[in-house]
Amino acid sequence: MRLAYWMYQGTAHHGVGRIANSMRGVHAVFHAPQGDDYVTPIFTMLERTPAQPQMTTSVVSGKDLSRGTIQLPHTLREVEQRSQPDLIIVTASCSTILLQDHLEQVVEQAHLATEVLIYDANPYRMQEVLASEGLFTLLVERSATAQARTATPSVNIIGPSSLGFHNRVDLIALKHMLKTLGVQINVIAPWGATLADLRRLPAAWVNLAPYRELGLQATRYLEREFGMPALYDAPIGVQPTLAWLDHLLELLNTVGGEQGAPALRRPPLTAFSLDGESTPSSVPWFARTADMESFSRKTAFVFGDATHTVGVTKFVRDELGMQIVGVGTYLEHEADWVREQLAGYLPDELLVTEQFQEVATRIEQLRPDLVCGTQMERHSGRKFDIPAMVIAPPTHIENHLLGYYPMLGFAGADYLADQVYTTTKLGLEQHLIDMFGDAGLDYEDHHTAPTAPPEPAAPASEPAPQLNGDAPAVPAPPAPAPNGAPGWTADGEAMLRKVPFFVRGRVRQNTERYAIQQGYHEITAAVLREAKEMIGG
């Protein structure tokens, strides 16, 4: 038994939820305690879903256990009536799996017209990644049907999913490249797919499976069963994207040759830019500019899932010219693949662990200039004052941004390079701020201080640039109270300190305004209390 704090992966039932919330007409029912419904808010909050995710917890309570009752048949009927799905997937949770309820019998008793799949996801043997991959593979195996190929070159994009890392925008990047090549998309799955779409999978000429974590097994199955050629690489970085395009064309032209279709050719690279006439990516030039000279001495530590760990490690070394000081993954079952992919890139043993403390320790020892990791490594980075960027799940709401920030393709390369640049640069500025004595300032004073002049554009090269005299990079100290404003007594100050820091500045201002209105000459705890009461925090 070990002490765990943070988890890199969600649970098996979360993995099932990710498939249900990716597909249309598929509803997940969790035979679980009510609290296990916590996975629903992960979708509604992180992905800000405008509709209720297709998952329902069929509540198991202590009372049910003692009375031997089970809500599942009732829940299933209710789900059928409310959502009319094509398929209901039933799965147990970590606690209910121990009850050994005979779910098949229970489901039969519900007399549903809807098809029900009992997905045996043992939460003690599989976590989010294996559970979602396993379920999706099963659905593909059950559905895919032999059929004629499409008349024109086409692909399936297999793997993008709800809560997949930047998957929604990766899809836009992939679609844009395919459109530029003149390749039609047959099916995208699981993202937005119905079961009918899964049936149509074998109609495509080629499968694209960019993510190691989801879609790999299904794609292998399609290759085995239907002889569908597949491209398993993730186009992360400019060179890998070029290789990916060439490989894709090769596969399509092989199929096209069999069909007697004219060969596809790669259009000029400018065709892949947004306006069709610029460079598709600024990375190759950017990496060679004087500005980036210092990066050749900068070190990076990369940790994450399999796909992004491999892609980002190669990218920062091969395309930005940084030094790799350590690499790791939390996906134990993918460790061999990561090692194989990164042969020649690993400075030492690949770190394989599910314990974030071990990763933190490694970061602390290595003290790299940049950490590319998950949300957890971002915390470790903060703790050790090392710049960190998030390149793999698990994520935080801060990683669910609105803009077009893909990880894949040319646009992905630009985004990654921007991230590396701004993350490490800010790290430098942070040191400057510390050096010039701002560290003592309280966060809230920072924010209530008169707007600081804009920060100078700090050159990114080391050593530290001189500061421009009239534009200090450090925010000004807190403003003294305006003339005539009442002062704070010790007990007033003491009480103010107890107000949560993020609203303290506002409370201070409001109270001072209130005290002036009321003609108080000093602000005591009593005045503060009175002000809070009359005008609010």
Partner: protein, 423 residues
């Protein structure tokens, strides 16, 4: 003071969305500063805590999960000594709370014995039932306080002072202390206190004044075990609740005060808000167990409460609140789908809903707000009134200012599972 007839409420089938009792860790580990919360649980419990309670912002939390893995399932009683040593070395707590969860409950782990075997005089390990099979959201704070009770010194029978029950932040606690002082009410302390080492003395002369509405069991336990008197009043939310609370509490000490003027002043200070709330239809879907007093307040503020649902209702502990809500549809353990149908039939102006349902409601064009925000805002007492009313008006005002989302294009492509006809 309790009403003669039983106020009616409906009980449904508990098909609502909320969190399990482990949620209380999110605030209690911060409130009790020398504590450590150890959950004997699974990956599920860890995943829940890190994702939903916003606790991931802390790099070194004073809570952790003793992780049950497959090999542990066959062991009758888990071995936690090594973990306790690890926690001691890393965190130096004065007390460790050992929380139950669903899997060890199903395994029938004997928690009390386990906690006792780990407990030492210098570092007590206290069992806290919190499993999702039995406990919802804030309800398990009740379990934590029950575990703390034996460590409250026994007060002499003639020690007539008040103990405020329920965790509130330090600023609110100071407000209550100051108010009590002003009214001449002697205070023994707060349960929970900010430190395990500062628990208040409780005895037969103690008046227990509940600040939070989810503590029915510990309130009962204190009266049974220590012979303390439980204040039966409204909970101190809003001008109406705060006035009743202080008047009733003062009366326990033989102090007769009339706070009507104070209440009027408090209402007057938020008049611009209550004007906006007048006639607005508010719907509570059940989540954090604050629903009864919140609904009572917003009704007093002039709104129409369409439905007040709550995970659990206790006829005695909530008697005054229930009486004040007479005529309102009050539901215990509601069915969310029924609620949804009702909302579509008669659209509310504001729904106080759970984290799992709020964005989808907004997507359906219904103004909704996370109920969890109420649990983390200083809304108690006189000083909390402006914050409290603002919680309701802000949502309504904000959506009025932004206008309706009139074209489905603004959410197109954002959610892959949305049915094609809605996409």
């Amino acid at each position: 003071m309790a009403p003669d007839r039983k106020p009616a409420f409906i009980r449904e089938d508990a098909a609502y969305h909320s969190f399990c009792g482990l949620a209380c860790v999110g605030w209690l580990y911060q409130k009790i500063k020398d504590s450590f919360f150890l959950i004997l649980g699974t990956h599920t419990c860890a995943h829940f805590l890190q994702n939903t309670m916003g606790v991931m912002v802390f790099a070194r939390p004073r809570f952790g999960i003793a992780l049950i893995e497959e090999t542990d399932l066959s062991r009758p009683q888990p071995e936690l000594h090594a973990l306790i040593e690890e926690i001691k070395a890393d965190h130096h707590p004065s007390v460790i709370f050992l929380l139950s969860s669903c899997t060890p409950d199903v395994m029938k782990v004997e928690f009390q014995g386990l906690a006792d075997s780990l407990s030492t005089p210098s570092l007590p390990v206290l069992f806290v039932p919190a499993s999702g099979l039995e406990y919802t959201f804030s309800q398990s704070e009740d379990s934590v306080l029950q575990a703390l009770l034996p460590f409250c010194p026994v007060a002499a029978p003639d020690d007539r002072r008040v103990v405020f029950l329920g965790s509130v932040n330090d600023a609110i606690a100071d407000d209550f202390l100051a108010e009590a002082e002003q009214l001449g009410i002697p205070v023994a302390g707060f349960l929970p206190s900010t430190h395990f080492t500062e628990l208040p003395a409780i005895g037969a002369g103690t008046i227990i004044a509940p600040l939070q509405p989810y503590l029915a069991k510990v309130a009962q336990l204190i009266t049974n075990e220590r012979g303390a008197t439980l204040l039966s009043s409204l909970f101190p939310f809003g001008p109406d609740g705060t006035r009743a609370f202080w008047e009733d509490l003062a009366a326990q000490f033989g102090i007769m005060v009339d706070l009507s003027e104070r209440e009027a002043r408090s209402w007057a200070a938020i008049a611009s808000h209550t004007e906006r709330l007048r006639g607005k239809k508010i719907f509570f879907t059940a989540d954090n167990l604050l629903e009864l007093p919140l609904a009572r307040f917003v009704q007093s503020a002039g709104a129409e409460v369409q439905e007040c649902s709550s995970p659990y209702i206790n006829r005695r502990f909530h008697a005054r609140e229930l009486a004040a809500l007479d005529g309102v549809r009050v539901v215990e353990q509601p069915n969310y789908n029924r609620q949804l149908r009702d909302m579509h039939a008669d659209p509310p102006d504001l729904v106080i809903s759970t984290m799992g349902t709020t964005n989808p409601l907004l997507g359906a064009g219904i103004v909704a707000k996370w109920s969890t925000e109420f649990a983390f805002m200083p809304i108690h007492g006189w000083a909390g009134v402006p914050s409290l009313v603002g919680m309701f008006t802000r949502s309504i005002d904000r959506h009025a200012q932004l206008g309706k989302l009139d074209d489905p294009v603004w959410t197109a492509g954002l959610m892959p599972s949305i049915p094609l006809e809605q996409a």
